[in-house]
Point group: C2
Chain length 366, copies 2
Amino acid sequence: MNGQHAPQSFDRVLSSMCTEPHPAARTAAERFLATNPGDPATYGTIAELESRAVELLCTVVDHPRSGPDLGYLTSGGTEANLQAVRAARNLAAGGDVNVVAPESAHFSFRKAAAILDVELRTVPLDRDHRADIEAASAAVDENTALVVGVAGSTEYGRVDPIPDLCAIAHETGARMHVDAAWGGFVLPFHDVPWTFADAPIDTMTIDPHKLGRAVVPAGGLVVRDPATLDALAIETPYLETHAQATVTGTRSGAGVAGAVAAMEELWPDGYRETAQRCQRNAEWLAAAFADRGYTVVDPSLPIVAASIPTPIFEELRSAGWKIARTDRGELRIVCMPHVTRDTLRAFLSDLDRIAESDGSRTAGSR
Amino acid sequence: MNGQHAPQSFDRVLSSMCTEPHPAARTAAERFLATNPGDPATYGTIAELESRAVELLCTVVDHPRSGPDLGYLTSGGTEANLQAVRAARNLAAGGDVNVVAPESAHFSFRKAAAILDVELRTVPLDRDHRADIEAASAAVDENTALVVGVAGSTEYGRVDPIPDLCAIAHETGARMHVDAAWGGFVLPFHDVPWTFADAPIDTMTIDPHKLGRAVVPAGGLVVRDPATLDALAIETPYLETHAQATVTGTRSGAGVAGAVAAMEELWPDGYRETAQRCQRNAEWLAAAFADRGYTVVDPSLPIVAASIPTPIFEELRSAGWKIARTDRGELRIVCMPHVTRDTLRAFLSDLDRIAESDGSRTAGSR
């Protein structure tokens, strides 16, 4: 290493679903760097902290009860989504199992389907990029083990009609999973149904290491019924514990300690302040794009998508901006906590300079 | 957190396959805590470091060539083992696939088989706790997609006859995987075949976060042929990269940076010194157990198993020692780098005190 590699600066990162950890999370993570919550008989303190993390998550997702047996901290949202699919598969009566998810579902569901060898049926979206209820209703059948709803989609930050999807799932005998991996720490401050109190959902993904301002790796899986975790358990010799429901064996104590520290520090007031600030930035940016004649997808959560032409996108990237695109090719800016108004002003200034020199500044020219 | 939780001390930890990270690994991990190698377009520096980590792993496992396309840093040994099984399943012609592994294989293979829905056939061990070659040969058939050999077993630190198992695998058209998750960083200093140069193995698990003295999470998957990773790839929108072969999406930059720092600092001289010191401690402890009349399994790698009666085991645990047992109930001590001779002396002193007061000190009384 020899110091030649400078760690990442977040100054120009507009593409990431992760962010700079809260200082309390960083400090806690550094203290517990050499612990393993996957071996609770050896590393008891961090195992207790994981119980605390799960109880805190139960509060955030408005779980009807709270307890350390209602989930665990995963390596990230992918593991949590995979485990929800796995539990549904394992609990299904058998045969060819399918999972019904909106087109907006994260690609981790395709990964989970490939790993677990189940069929993934994607259903189209409505005009506001949310799961189309009629299409979902038509897609389920007696082999459907799970219906997925997204609460804060990766591309446009949309929340699917969770209670309706849940009703469709349960009517057909399937389970209901909500993927709030990214949205879970801002949604408590929005007026939209998404929690265990809003609908009888079975499992949820909510990641402290995204908008929860914890340290990677800290994903979260929360279950309504502890029996869900039993359906995932594998017997464990050597460890002086009986079974392990996690995908990974050795796990990061840093991630667990950081998640507890962030949630204890920020829930609820700090998260509310963060959510409001991120939302104001997103709405300000959306208005600025619209003023320039670009077509903008309304940011109901702090993600802004705008129809910036590809040559301008590429030049912005060459100028050092870390930016990404939607599947349809729109520029997509995630207004994470590290993204300040000044950063957005600097970005727009570069955009204007490039658009002008390209002679493509007005919407009419595109 | 409020400082009420003290992080783990390793003083009395004799049960863990992990250890205190090397100081250089800790420093590097702390610097890269807020990065994500799962998103290389955004976090370029840590992605470059991961390439360096894979090249260093290629050196440790004596790979015929070196390159960033020959593996990746996993969340741990479980993910690496799961991916080896998954690649074998995906590359198999189809139908009901089975995996043949020795009884000594880590429980992560049972987890992988359950997740991936493949049959796991375990074969018995020979009298020295290594895979029985005749039994392995009898277990494979035309549906066998993978044969597993362990290089440093969890219970007794045994290395299976890797070249023989590899021949059995390839004769039947199966792939060959070596699980060196724990043993991989001491085996280069032992005279036993286990590497890509010793046999035409297809995949290997080797975890920097165990005897590599890196920071959790830093497992490792190394492949002979980059096409193995292609068999695991899932398309990725949003990320400005095309495909992702990993199980997890967001991943720990701390784990990657720590692994590079540890390997650059310690390969080969530091690891050789560590391996020799751990081995001397294990042999010294084995002799001390034998002197006291206990039956000891010879530590060919730094794990010592001894027939300590259960009441004494429980009292040692009550005295604060973090200890574990083999499946047969033997006390099992992993002489990791943090386990000093003084620690072992203090442990034996407690053992003697407890055994004497139990009146069960002599072997004859058991």
